[in-house]
């Protein structure tokens, strides 16, 4: 147990002052700007927005700067900031089918309608450090080509036309959408709450869990049916205005995992699905999320469920890195009172041990 302590104010103040100094680093080196972080460390900003659960590039960049690049600390800062603003309501659900696609690939259909669009990707790079980037590198202007006017339908919609894939579960009448920022988690949790939890969950944790399903701990035979990244319009039904007002657009990444079949005596077999959605260009995150979303559907699909990734309570209770770091890192705070009582108990046990042994030795000597 952590017990409040007094004193140390001066030392704490000086420690924070030292932190500010160290954060600035060598003062002969120019200070990094928020625009530089947002533009040049964009994927870090995307991760902080996703796991901080707040879409605001500038705030995420500020958080990264303040946290000296510690992503979980930055995510913590963004989460804390959310509490300072009122919530006006919920947006209309975004339509990812209408995305202005910047990247869109399918590992299942090479000739998918709308085409395979690589966009800005690390895929097919050689992962060799590039010394040119060290300083002053001016990249070429991007190549251009005539843009197609044809749409880019979701791969799952194409499979769905022939009934080859299960349909997405539809909303249950007027049932409210679960929100784990408003009500504490309880189990079993519905898919809406699970997806919200996974969307803000730690990328590393979900990556490891997703990987574990591929290695056999809850195998579900995934294909990356489609990964798309681009701009999506956001609308908000404003009561005062009387219609859904456009708020602008956000960048999102969506992953549709296509998994092995389900079927029964009454239903023809069809592919099943796992879903991932995140702010910014967050491919690894959405792929991991989709794998874990699918794994968590094991019971619903009548699969044997014994692997960690299939255990909803285990996954959802440990996915949040702000909660996790809070409990792990609180071990650093003074636990003196607790420790004193443990120490007292240990001394007593050791004394009893010594006394018991002495008694045995005396008895043996006497015999």
């Amino acid at each position: 147990m952590y017990v409040a302590v007094k004193g140390g104010e001066r030392a704490i103040e000086n420690a924070h002052r030292l932190l500010a100094h160290e954060r600035r680093g060598d003062r002969d080196v120019p200070e990094v700007t928020l625009a530089q972080i947002s533009e040049q460390l964009a994927l870090g900003v995307d991760r902080v927005m996703t796991e901080g659960s707040l879409y605001d590039r500038e705030l995420a960049a500020l958080a990264i700067k303040q946290a000296r690049g510690d992503m979980i600390e930055a995510i913590f800062l963004v989460r804390a900031f959310r509490a300072t603003l009122p919530r006006f309501g919920a947006t209309e659900p975004v339509n990812t089918g209408e995305m202005l696609v910047r990247r869109r690939i399918s590992s299942t259909f090479k000739d998918v309608p709308g085409g395979q669009i690589l966009g800005p990707t690390f895929d097919y790079t050689h992962r060799l450090l590039d010394p040119q980037l060290a300083e002053g590198f001016v990249p070429e202007q991007p190549a251009t080509a005539e843009a197609s006017q044809a749409g880019t339908p979701r791969v799952t919609d194409i499979l769905g036309r022939d009934g080859l894939i299960e349909t997405s579960p539809q909303a249950d009448g007027d049932a409210p959408v679960g929100d784990l920022t408003r009500e504490p988690l309880s189990f079993p949790a519905d898919r809406d709450l699970r997806l919200q939890n996974l969307a803000r969950g730690d990328e590393g944790f979900l990556l490891a869990l997703g990987y574990s399903t591929q290695r056999g701990y809850g195998r579900n035979h995934p294909f990356a049916g489609e990964i798309r990244f681009g701009e999506v319009e956001v609308e908000f039904f404003a009561e005062d205005v009387g219609f859904a007002v456009p708020l602008g657009s956000v960048e999102l990444t969506e992953c549709q995992m296509v998994n092995q079949f389900k079927g029964s005596t009454t239903e023809a077999p069809c592919f099943t699905r796992g879903y991932g959605l995140a702010f910014g260009q967050s491919e690894r995150k959405t792929m991991s999320m989709a794998l874990v979303d699918r794994a968590l559907r094991a019971r619903e699909l009548g699969e044997e469920a014994g692997a960690p990734a299939q255990d909803e309570e285990f996954v959802m209770s440990h996915s949040d890195n702000v909660q996790s770091t809070g409990f792990v890192e609180h071990l650093k705070l003074p636990h003196y009172v607790d420790f004193q009582s443990e120490l007292g108990l240990l001394r007593k046990l050791r004394q009893e041990f010594t006394e018991a042994n002495q008694a045995v030795e005396l008895q043996e000597a006497a015999e």
Binding site: Y55, F88, I117, A171, L180, Q196, V234, L247, G248, E254
Partner: protein, 157 residues
């Protein structure tokens, strides 16, 4: 076009307001301010002081199923009333409350029969052109990364 819907009917006015709001929400605050500087701003008062807040952004399970809460976004909003009575609303992603205020002002002007033409011609139309140009530029860059499997001929490559 639906014959019962005249070009001045409430539905088309709402569509026009929404189209203007879309362009404004996609434009940078400095660009909106630059365009507004070119027209005479009518007398107006704040109905709602510009303010920051959050909206919970929703996605759908599988992209097309039941809604779920994805995460929040910062938004700004404002409302103004022109001296002539029109009430305009401004909503936009981000924390720039002045941008929301300018959107509200434009929305009010779009509703005014007298000011609508000018704000459309001198503010919305040029901003729309800039937004569309930016979209076209991005679309052309994206298109160049399209993998074209069809051009491969057996024996080549």
């Amino acid at each position: 076009m639906n014959p019962t819907m005249s070009s001045t009917g409430p539905d088309s006015k709402q569509a026009q307001r929404k189209a203007a709001m879309t362009v404004l929400a996609h434009s940078a605050a400095a660009d909106i301010a630059g365009r507004l500087a070119a027209i005479a701003i009518p007398k107006h008062e704040n109905l709602r002081e510009p303010e920051n807040g959050l909206v919970m952004m929703r996605g759908r399970v599988g992209g097309d199923g039941a809604p779920f809460n994805l995460g929040e976004a910062t938004v700004s909003r404002a409302a103004v009333r022109l001296a002539s009575g029109e009430v305009g609303f401004g909503y936009t992603l981000g924390r720039d409350a002045q941008k929301a205020q300018m959107i509200a002002l434009c929305d009010a002007m779009v509703q005014s029969a007298e000011l609508c033409g000018e704000v459309e011609a001198k503010v919305i139309a040029p901003l729309r052109a800039a937004v569309n140009a930016e979209r076209s530029r991005k679309a052309a860059e994206t298109a160049a990364t399209r993998v074209d499997f069809y051009t491969m001929v057996r024996g080549e490559g």
